[in-house]
Each structure stands twice: as C-alpha cells, then as structure tokens.
Symmetry: C2
Subunit: 153 residues, 2 copies
DNA sequence: TTGTTATTGAGAATTATTATCATTTAAATC
DNA sequence: GATTTAAATGATAATAATTCTCAATAACAA
C-alpha cells in the first residue's frame, strides 16, 4: 500500500506531465512539497526540505525549478518581508495572503472576490491581464499578544 | 518666486515633519522624487536620481531611507519582476498597480474597492490589519503589439 | 550657541542570485 | 530493452544586492 508521501509524489508527477514539464525527482519533490505544505516556504526552506527528505538537489536547481513553475503558473511568488525575500505557494484555487509584519507568518484566505478587479484593470489600462495577486499586511494574533503584554509591563 | 522643484521639496519637508522624521536633505529629495514621479523607481534609479540632482547620497542611505518610509507607511514596495527586485511608490491615495510581465512597466489604477477585502481578512484570520496591496500582472499595449507582430511574421 | 543624539557615507563583509559547463538523466525512438 | 538526443543537474565560480561598521557630520532641542 502506498504511503501518503508516495501518493503526493504521484500527484505532483501527473501535474508535471499534464504541463509538459520533464519529470525529474527534484521537480517532483519540490512541487509535492509546495502542494501539501502550508508554510509558504522560502528558497532556503525548500532547499533544506528536499535534502532532508532523501533527495539530492543543488541550490541552482531550486532556483531554476521555482522559476519554471512560476512561468507555468503552477505556483506564485509572495513578497513577504520588506527585504524582498520571496516565498512560494502552490496556486490552484484562487486565494490571497495575510502576512504578519512582525513574524512573517502567512495564512491563506480562500476568497476570490479580489479577482473581480481584473476586469476594471483591463478597461482602464489596455493591458492583457494574466493574473493578479492580493496581499494583506497586519499583525497575527500571537504577535498581538506579545506586543500588548510588552506595552502593559 | 519658488520653482516647482523647490515647492516639492518643501511639501516633502512638511510630510517628514508631520511624521516626526528628522529632516535631512537626502530624505527630502528621495521623498519628493517618490511623490512626483510616476516611474515607480527601483533602488538604483533613486540612487542615481539623487546624485544627478545635485545631492550627495550613499547607497546605504537610500536603503535606510526607503526602509524608514515603508515603516511609516509613506511609501510601499512593489515586487515588480520575478527576481525579487523592489520598486517604490509614494502611497497616499489608495490605488493598485498593473505590471507588464514583459517590460516591467507599472501603471496606477486609482480605485480602492480592493481594500474592501480587508474586513473579511480580519474576520477570517484574527490579524490586526494594517494595509493591503493589490497587483495585477499582464502585458502592456506596447508589448502586445511587439508580440503579435513577432507571431504574425 | 551648545550639547546630545541621530544620520550619513565609504568601504568592508556578507548574502543572494546567476552563470558555467562537465556529467547525468529522462524519455522518445528504434 | 537498447540507443539516441536534448534537457536537467550540480559543484563551484562569478556577479550582484544588501547589510554592517564606525568615524565624521548634521539636525534640532534646550
């Protein structure tokens, strides 16, 4: 019987095939990680994940692979902290991100009404719209507690 | 009689004062540039602008100043290309950006309906919302022409 | 003014990203 | 299954971007 992990790898492999992307172990494991993780990982996190899960990979391959997936609209980049470090997220169901400016935790909100603005954007700019992204910045519940405690002391 | 340029510098100086930010020539000229330019400049462009307009500045100061302005919500960062290079924009009137994935040109759309999603974000996540940003990706009219021409030949 | 404190800037140090290219591998074809 | 071919991988070099350091300078409150 197949484990959960093996199943996810198969699903990722199918995804690659249906997008006509050559199927390598590195690509499979990176995609499956992005499909199942809710961590919105950074390049560094992805690199470490692949290595600690028994696959060989180089940093160059992680960069190349992520770029490839972005170009195929399989994943999106999120500008999470102000240093311009990118985080990555599998993007099938439209959703947006709420990002903590203190600890950089990212949570998903599965609501696609923000996408409706695309029509107006087309009309106003003449751009041929490909996709759009909405990001909300704030302070997560955990950090709110910490900050409030600090102030009251 | 004051020139337009001098006026903008004064407006920027007032903005700094009202935000309790110490008023230095570098900060004044960087803020005034962002207030009047529609170029959504990069770090590099800002650095060059300041130097070619008769002010001394170092790259370190540009980085520090932009970070300071972002922290004070005077300006926002825009992730324009997939390399994670940031562009900057004065942000007083809510608006969003439509970005060409081919040439990275950015245009503003002054419509704030996307901001309405913030309420739902609060309810769904418990985050204390500070601001939000909407970005639309597509192909600008100029690049559409170029691409269509290329295909038809 | 003067004193205090924050800012600036040149360059060093660090970190992130891209490029190179020999080796390996996927998968189409026989 | 073996062969072929084009593409992917990965170690490392090269480059670019960002942050750090700290002495000199400047802002501005008193």
């Amino acid at each position: 019987m197949a484990t959960q992990e093996q199943n996810t790898l198969l699903v990722a492999a199918n995804k690659l095939r249906s997008n006509k992307i050559k199927n390598t172990p590195q690509r499979q494991v990176i995609l499956s990680y992005l499909m199942t993780s809710h961590a919105h990982p950074s390049i560094e996190m992805i690199f470490k994940y692949v290595r600690t899960n028994g696959f060989s990979v180089s940093l160059a391959t992680v960069y190349n692979t992520l770029q490839l997936f972005v170009d195929h609209n399989l994943i999106i980049e999120i500008a999470a902290d102000s240093g311009g470090h990118m985080r990555y997220d599998y993007f099938e169901t439209p959703h947006y991100h709420v990002i903590c400016v203190n600890c950089n935790k990212i949570v998903d909100v599965f609501d696609d009404t923000y996408k409706e603005n695309e029509k107006l954007a087309t009309k106003k700019t003449g751009y041929r719209i490909l996709n759009s992204q909405y990001e909300v910045y704030g302070i997560c519940p955990d950090c709110q507690k910490k900050i409030d405690t600090k102030i009251s002391v």
